[in-house]
């Protein structure tokens, strides 16, 4: 090939290369030019959001619970930092603030070109110091940011909640969030976050080499709305103190029991929860969970170790709405109501049960019919066997006779049996009264609990067969039986045991409905929203359903609940109640979860008996006996609610 030909070929290749570039230029500049031009113009404007002041949180009497103050904070804005200055700024700033350089460099990188990030709030002294050095720290600004203050520290921490920077799941849920602005993470702060947060404003400007050269009119931020809670700070404080004392009392009792070879103690009592509910409006007047935490920790940035400790203690868990426990004998009030309303049958031809007189012999054991192979079956009233003789429904509730309520469960099982819709009459009532479903309170992550039925057990059985690797929920022997639901299961359900679990709030809701005539509302923590324009918007409560309870049954139940505290299982705890004991009622409960854990202590109080207004639920997790430990705590609160001077929390009768 001649040299000239080779040169021509080289020229041809070069022409091709020029053409490729030229065509691409035509494509970008002419074919797509106008679209790109628009983007480019807009891009020269930098948008910044302006913090909207977050709304406050008040208690029902106008006491301030959470507010914001304006504090200085350091912000780094990369728009104003030339690339060669970045190293110096990061070095100097990390030294000044005594923070980890690597972490700051990482934040810087993450903010991206023209990005902006908050390093953290600083003291006023530090603000002055940095202010003096601002000339050497391009892009560093001292800004005023709102910082949350929780006036009462850990009081009502689980209700109020706390703030934190949005994480991946928050941003997924609400993609429009400004990742540099803190959002509610728990409690009211989270549930009403969008109202509290307000609408951030914007300012727009153009920057040339770190100097603002042009601005557009800014949009002012709209302040967040304030939330007024139904919580009464006075009741809340008494409730929290009483719970702490109750835990202490439980541990004192356990210390004594450790000396006694007849009693077994498995653990130290650490956790408790309580709720005070208005039975007419379903406003939550107080809700406490121990252990708690100080939401203020999160404001300055909680350190990992402290967080891990609190998390391990489950301090962020609101046991009042998330803690699931067998409701135990507190549920007898529901079985009692069903027995009266539905005339639950008692079993025939069993010694110690007289279905005609509707009486049961409460002597501590229940002899069931022999099995086919002649094995005798005896169910023991396992906990505090006493002989009360023949009792009717009223007395059985007052002394919390398991045998009577077992008999109701057995009678129902035998009479209706499999396939009859009335087999689940007790569970149906429980569900109508709010068990097994979220109460709908204005908090996130509420637990719903389990109301066991034949259907559910069959579902569980199938699941267990299909997934042998999963932890079993039914005893393996149940898998052998055609239907895993047995009479004993309904008997246990009638006394609030077995697979049955509920939250303290669900127990409060069910009692509130029993004593208010059957109305089940969604409980509310927020009473009203105060908007920045001065308007006040009440928070609506939702009536979920009305359960038909006759006035006769209601009156009878209230009367017997009163007898529990005057002559029944809670008598000892209420001896020192003071004036108006005739207007107070309640029910003890001692819940068994597993044999190797201590029992959960329950008490549900109601007052006044003539026209109930308050339901008080106290749960002490693995605290021991309901009458002995939980009843004195509830009594303390009831004394406060009825205007009596609350007397010290000392051990009551050891009764369930």
């Amino acid at each position: 090939m001649k040299f000239a030909v080779r040169l021509s070929l080289v020229g041809l290749v070069f022409i091709t290369m020029f053409s490729v570039v030229g065509l691409r230029l035509w494509f970008i500049q002419v074919a797509q030019g106008s679209t790109i031009a628009q983007e480019a113009t807009e891009q020269t404007w930098i948008q910044r959001s302006v913090y909207a002041p977050r709304g406050d949180i008040f208690d029902r009497n106008g006491q301030l619970l959470a507010t914001s103050r304006i504090v200085p904070a350091v912000v780094v804005d990369r728009t104003f930092i030339q690339p060669d200055q970045a190293q110096g700024v990061v070095d100097r700033l990390s030294a000044l603030l005594a923070i980890d350089r690597g972490h700051l460099a990482e934040q810087y990188e993450k903010a991206g070109v023209n990005g902006r990030f908050e390093v953290g709030s600083i003291s006023t002294e530090m603000a002055y110091r940095i202010n003096e050095e601002l000339d050497d720290l391009p892009g560093v600004e001292i800004v005023k940011i709102p910082e949350r203050i929780y006036i009462n520290g850990p009081t009502a921490a689980h209700v109020i909640g706390h703030l934190g920077l949005p994480d991946a799941s928050d941003l997924e849920e609400r993609p429009d969030l400004d990742p540099s602005v803190r959002v509610g993470k728990l409690g009211i702060e989270k549930f009403y976050d969008e109202l509290l947060q307000g609408i951030p404003g914007t300012e727009e400007f153009r920057v040339r080499r770190g100097q603002i050269i042009d601005t557009r009119p800014s949009v002012d931020p709209v302040q967040g709305s304030s939330v007024v809670l139904s919580i009464d700070l006075g009741i809340q404080e008494i409730l929290e103190m009483a719970l702490e004392e109750g835990i202490q009392l439980s541990n004192e009792v356990k210390d004594q029991d450790r000396q006694n070879p007849d009693r077994e103690v498995f653990s130290v009592t650490e956790r408790a929860a309580a709720v005070v509910l208005d039975v007419d409006t379903f406003e939550v007047l107080a809700a406490a969970s121990v252990p708690d935490f100080d939401p203020q920790f999160f404001v300055a940035g909680i350190d990992a170790e402290q967080f891990a400790l609190l998390n391990e203690a489950r301090a962020f868990n609101n046991l009042a709405t998330n803690g699931l426990y067998p409701p135990a004998s507190t549920f007898k009030a529901i079985t009692y109501t069903v027995a009266m309303e539905e005339m639950l049958p008692l079993p025939e031809q069993i010694e110690g049960i007289d279905p005609g007189a509707r009486q049961v012999h409460c002597d501590g054991t229940l002899e069931l019919p022999q099995l086919a192979d002649g094995t005798p079956q005896v169910k023991k009233d396992w906990y505090y066997p006493r002989t009360y003789g023949w009792l009717g429904l009223s007395d059985a509730l007052t002394v919390s006779c398991n045998i009577y309520f077992w008999s109701l469960g057995l009678g129902t099982y035998q009479t209706y049996g499999r396939g009859d819709p009335r087999e689940t009459v007790i569970q149906d009532w429980a569900k109508m009264l709010g068990y097994g479903e979220k109460t709908g309170i204005d908090l996130v992550n509420e637990a719903d609990g389990v109301v066991p039925t034949r259907e559910l057990f069959e579902e569980w059985k199938q699941y267990q067969i299909d997934n042998p690797d999963q932890p079993p929920r039914l005893d393996p022997s149940r898998l052998e039986i055609a239907s895993p639901w047995l009479g004993g299961d309904l008997m246990d359900f009638a006394i609030g045991q077995g697979a049955f679990t509920a939250t303290p709030l669900q127990v409060a809701v069910s009692y509130a409905a029993l004593v208010n005539g059957g109305n089940v509302y969604e409980p509310r923590l927020a009473k009203e929203i105060r908007h920045p324009d001065g308007t006040v918007e009440p928070v609506e409560t939702v009536l979920k359903r009305t359960v038909p309870i006759s006035e006769n049954t209601r009156r009878s139940l209230l009367h017997d609940l009163n007898r529990v505290v005057t002559s029944g299982t809670a008598r000892g705890a209420f001896v020192d109640f003071g004036e108006g004991l005739e207007q107070v009622g309640g029910k003890t409960g001692t819940g068994q979860s597993v044999k190797t854990r201590d029992n959960h202590a329950w008490f549900v109080g109601v007052t006044p008996i003539d026209d109930p207004k308050y339901v008080v639920v106290v749960l002490i997790e693995e605290g021991g006996s309901g009458g002995g430990v939980a009843a004195p705590v509830a009594r303390h609160i009831l004394q406060y609610l009825t205007g009596n001077e609350p007397t010290p929390i000392v051990q009551g009768d050891r009764a369930d």
Binding site: M1, K2, F3, A4, R6, L7, L9, V10, G11, V13, F14, I15, M17, F18, V20, V21, G22, R24, L25, W26, I28, Q29, V30, Q32, G33, S34, T35, I36, A37, E39, A40, T41, Q43, T44, P83, D84, E109, G112, V113, G115, R206, V207, R208, R209
Partner: protein
Amino acid sequence: MAVISRLREVAVVRRGNKSDRILLGAIFVLSSIGLMMIYSATRSSGTFSMERQMIFVAAGLIILAVFSNIDYREYRVMLPIISIVTLVLLGAVFLFDPVSDGGVGQAYRWIPLGFFNLQPSEFAKVVVILVLASLLSPERNSDEPPGRQLTWKKVGLALVVVAIPGAMIYEQPDLGTALVFGFVMIVLLFAAGATWRQMLTLIGGVVGGAIAVVQLGLLSDYQLARIQCLVDPASDPTSACYQLSQSMRAIGSGQLFGKGFLADGSMTSFEYVPEQQTDFIFTAVAEQFGLLGSLVVLAAFAIIVWRLLVIAANARDRFGALIAVGVAAMIMFHVFVNVGMTVGIMPVTGIPLPFLSQGGSFYMAMALALGIANSVWLMRTPVPSENQLL
């Protein structure tokens, strides 16, 4: 002195020949546009970039004039010395502190001389062209006909000539400049008479090597990220692809006629394109003068490349012809890769745009290359006494 006697001889030769005015005109136009663009991209920064570049342009024009008047054939004898000096300088950069390369990292690329930083790799490009041209053309007084096929041995030697400085520059690291050598070598081998089989072997080697480099993970993360940007500009809009997206926005928003020189509100005036006065200088042209301005610049480069090929066709010997082809290939590669990267068809590499990008060594090296090529043009007509020599 040999040089002086040659200069005298040149004066005789030049009687009939004049410099390639079209070539010089194109260089002048591009240099002027370059100064304007550097001014527009840096005027608010207070770095006197344009003023500094004017000095380099002046120095470059002097270099151009001087080397136009030196008989390019002189270098053949001196090539061993020139090569050794170049290699020493390329090694010397590692003795000085690395400097930010304007992108993601730091590089050993410069020898600080006080008044400016010498970048030996730019001059190495010219030296490699001379060495390859010498290697691939017949000895000056040999009887070897110039049209003969290349031997595999010469192809191998050419690879060695390129590989040694290429590897040193790759270590700086400066992948882009190392790639210039490869392109120049392939074009020169073809022009010098490589067979199709040789060409296919070489191109196959390049393709295979590229695949191997990617497969073996020899590319660093930022290099991969830059390639990824071409496919998916949204893959990392904050850093790796930021330059590219800003560059394309600036160019695209210039549209047909541009926003006008120093137009208010342009991305250039806001200095929104990183490294605009150096590697991304083309964005300043395209934004301010639109497609028309872009095509004027491309046309000026096309004229230069065209003239260089004309010089090659008219050269008095194969050595001169190959020098002109090598310089043409070098310019072509710079233009294609540089403009290509600003418009998103080539990955972002640190290859500047000849005569426009800010940079002293680069401008002077380009002026040197064009000066030598112009000398090939001036020497195209053999003086009568020399006829016997061929």
